[in-house]
Symmetry: C2
Subunit: 146 residues, 2 copies
DNA sequence: GTTGCATTCGCAAGTGGTTGCAATAATTCT
DNA sequence: AGAATTATTGCAACCACTTGCGAATGCAAC
């Protein structure tokens, strides 16, 4: 079911602002920031305010329609949930961002459940560290791809 | 070796401001915020500015003398590394904060190293989710203990 | 269509944290 | 000790994000 439908079904209004935020999220190639979403929104609706972007993102997060990920940039990035749940390995040395299957964290999730009865909420995580390329001395140019 | 000694050894100056920040960190019972550190600093050095607190914390993080943890409060908390490295389970339902042995994340760390050659930097993590008490319906009063 | 009510929005102010810059303080050199 | 050099600080402005509030909007009842 689409974001639009879920929003309406739960009794939220499908305003132009919200539709444009959702569209920006869907059009994003990878992970998009609030500021980038706002740029899209502002182009087509100049009176819109960035606080509406943040409020819409908050709502979409609550409904689990988007995930929020902190890549350590000083700003956070968003991704529509229906495009898939994966995690990331962020190298603090070269800046490279690698994808990590969601299943890579299943053992941890199960361990916390078995030993602590704790249901961990691990979605769209960014784990920082040092990547294989940097460790083996092949210092390549940092290519940030969020 | 103490924070003071390591700081000086690496050629950093041991100013009154820095000593008071370090003292506040050491006196803290659990995890202390920048604002709380600043209150201590300001009491004994009224001209000091909070940006000095942030800059000192930044320096101590780089030297791996303190760890930073985001408990999801909207502000971040600090802990001197020599008091021990543990992680936390934060319940988003009741607010309870439980300690998690560092070893609980060792399997993940090893898995990432073996399969991706990635050396993950997992220190003083806060994992959010739903705790055992909340899951079993015994809704107790939320006791935040950072 | 008009009225009434709840939701959403724009705006401005606030929060936690960072940064550029000029003044100050510590360290090194003479 | 005094001068030159460098690190550190205080201050103000800024950044990402949040929030209170009054105005606008959407929606349902008449
Ligand atoms: Mn992703
Ligand atoms: Mn801790
Ligand atoms: Zn790397
Ligand atoms: Zn709980």
């Amino acid at each position: 079911m689409s974001c639009h439908e879920i929003l309406q079904e739960k009794g939220h209004r499908l305003t132009l602002q919200r539709m444009l935020v959702i569209e920006a999220l869907h059009n994003a190639v990878r992970h998009i920031s609030a500021e980038e979403i706002y740029e899209e929104l502002h182009r087509r609706h100049p009176y819109a305010n960035i606080s509406t972007v943040y409020r819409t993102l908050e709502l979409l997060k609550e409904l689990e329609l988007v995930t929020e990920t902190d890549f350590g940039e000083g700003r956070v990035r968003y991704h529509v949930a229906e495009k898939g749940h994966h995690h990331h390995l962020v190298c603090h040395s070269c800046g490279r961002v690698a994808d990590l299957e969601e299943t890579a964290l299943h053992p941890l999730k199960e361990g916390l459940l078995d030993e602590y009865g704790f249901v961990a909420d691990l979605r769209h995580l960014a784990i920082s560290g040092r990547c294989n390329e940097c460790r083996s001395g092949h210092e390549t140019e940092p290519k940030l791809r969020y």
